[in-house]
Symmetry: C2
Subunit: 398 residues, 2 copies
């Protein structure tokens, strides 16, 4: 009687949950300080003081009816205007409140856009491995095909040869995620420029828009020597999906937005269409109080410098040991090659040293592991000798 | 290029929005104190002091990483356990945390259940006019047919004759909403008992469960002389959809739950299936901080006594004037017959007196108007002479 689509999802094993449960059990045996769980991608730094300040201010400034009342579907106009002005300052855009649609975080932004773009059973959205597995759930829900382009594992930039083969008249959007979960890689300016040029050509050829959906929850976590291009500078038909989960360390509060310039195709109907698309997913409004909180902290971030320190420590140490890994430009993930080639077998062997890593298969890119380093640096320091033992074990066999 | 399903929704006129905009314009002409907008169904009483207290407590008790961190998909276990225990006390149930699935309010609960129950293009959910129009959006999204049973306008209890005709092997659920938006009517114990008995029969006949989805955001707003039955006492296959929007006056924070007893069909897989169904709709978790807030206020409500006072004043005054209206047992709506029979024409004429009412057509029950009395009692007192003039105008014509 229950939905087969839903039941099929319940039967899929969640690798990350299994690792988490294994870690809990193992901690009982060897002590939690001796289990090195690098599987979870949750921000480990607290929200900035400005979030606390904003909460106390709002408690004083607004009576409860206004503070906790319904917000308009698209978000509180003053909040949207504040975000627009902040983006204008940072990225030299000409946004107003009408260019900002508040959402319950990046997941909701993507769910809403997938719904908005699905029209025909042949419709497809193209994304690039390695990719966040939840993209598949949004595609299933919207009834749109998610076409995954295999990774260029030497750089994790876009594999344009395969992209050109897969682009067709049914392509509604290209979904990019830079800095990337799980690789941490940032798309270069050249990659974005090349993608924009290709899509401009293809839009003309097919006679309809092909949108870029830029999934940017890790935008603020970017390292020295890397730069994250603002995609709307390169391509008008861009939806920017942003989340405050990582930038303000508010993942549980579910606050983000979709931004689009007035140069986007069908600009005059996009806002109304997003409202209706969100209604279909049963969204009523984005939590009122936290909309106002993020507006008060709009130019602030949590102390994300810790992620850069962790990356410097962890990345160079692994490279020095002999692991192969493309240097992450942002986010808080390393994505080295699995020793021996089989990610699951490698993760099993890493468990012997109580190193908990995520095999890459569910990210659509076999032969790698994801290492989340949103942890206390001391844990990394204590784990490094174990990574050394692990690689030595593999070397000893050759 | 955009979804035709979504675009069709953008082309539908929103009656309530039009009334709201008319009211704003009219207020510029005659002054806001002279426009009597009874169209909006937003709680007008503040959240109780215990909500403020809970916010301050949580700010002190929890560090920001825990306070704003991801919650499990189904909700924070301690919050779910607290709600379960509160329900056990009130309704003599045997709930544990596993019987409570936290949601982003009643809309999300319904969206998630519609997804969960859809399996076949012939599947249907039956509901009863007058009904909340958003039900149609959730049905469209899930691809399930919403069959609407016409109202018994003499009582607004269930029209069982028509229900029996429409029940068939494709019926997955019966969706009830008591106290009702827009009628304010509460289903009697006899109605619930009769519905349960009928569905027990039909479950046997068809050989599969037929769920009751009990949409109960107005449960706490019930008036002397009326009683709201707890549906799981009558029928095991019940999903109770609750929201704190009205009880704690937190409509903008989007917090509610789905509750189900261990006697529900497929009890052992329901929780996992709800998690997956929510994932399909791109829900990640229910806002963390407000989950903890409602847990701290679980046995509290806003001062909803004002709604009872408004109802006493408004209902009896209209009846005394000669309006025909079934007495509401709860919520904050009156649903009188439109004078002259045509709801839209009646609402237009009411505008002459600056009375803004919602014609009933979008609730699937023509010939009535919805009057929301979640307003300051003084506004009702000042509006009553205008309702008198309005009915006198109609009487003068006969």
């Amino acid at each position: 009687m229950l939905s087969e689509k839903v039941l099929a999802m319940t039967r899929q094993k969640s690798i990350i949950r299994e690792i988490f449960e294994y870690g809990m059990e193992r901690a009982k045996v060897v002590g939690p300080e001796n289990v090195f769980d690098f599987s979870i991608g949750n921000p480990s730094v607290p929200a900035p003081q400005s979030v606390d300040d904003a909460i106390y201010e709002i408690m004083k400034e607004l009576d409860p009816v206004e503070r906790h009342g319904y917000a308009p579907n698209a978000g509180i106009p003053a909040v949207r205007e504040t975000i627009a002005q902040s983006l204008n300052k940072r990225f030299d855009m000409e946004y107003t409140a009408d260019n900002i649609f508040m959402t319950n975080g990046a997941a909701a932004s993507l769910g809403i856009l997938f719904q908005l773009l699905q029209n025909d059973e042949n419709d497809q959205i193209i994304t690039f491995a390695p990719y966040f597995p939840e993209y598949q759930a949004y595609a299933v829900s919207a009834g749109i095909h998610l076409e995954v382009i295999p990774a260029d594992v030497t750089s994790f930039q876009i594999n344009f040869e395969v992209l050109k083969e897969k682009l067709n008249e049914h392509t509604k959007a290209i979904l990019i995620n830079s800095p990337n979960n799980p690789s941490g890689v940032v798309y270069s300016k050249e990659t974005i420029q090349k993608l924009a040029t290709l899509l401009e050509e293809k839009q003309k050829e097919y006679g309809h828009p092909i949108y870029i959906i830029s999934d940017e929850p890790y935008r603020e976590i970017v390292y020295d020597g890397f730069e994250i291009s603002y995609v709307p500078h390169f391509y008008d038909n861009t939806f920017v999906c942003y989340s405050y989960s990582k930038s303000l360390s508010l993942p549980g509060e579910r606050i983000g937005y979709i931004a689009y310039s007035n140069k986007i195709a069908d600009a005059d109907i996009i806002l109304g269409a997003l409202v209706q698309s969100a209604r279909l997913l049963s969204y009523v409004c984005v939590p009122s109080m936290f909309q106002r909180i993020v507006a008060k902290c709009v130019d602030d971030t949590a102390d994300i410098s810790i992620y850069a320190k962790n990356k410097e420590l962890f990345y160079h140490a692994l490279i020095d040991m002999g692991y192969e890994c493309v240097e992450p430009g942002g986010a808080f993930y390393l994505f080295p090659k699995a020793l021996g080639g089989d990610a699951t077998a490698f993760c099993e062997r890493a468990k012997k040293y109580d190193l908990l890593l995520v095999p890459s298969d569910s990210f659509g890119c076999p032969g790698h592991v994801r290492i989340s380093y949103c942890v206390d640096p001391k844990r990394i320091e204590r784990a490094l000798p174990l990574f050394k033992k692990l690689i030595d074990e593999y070397k000893g066999e050759n």
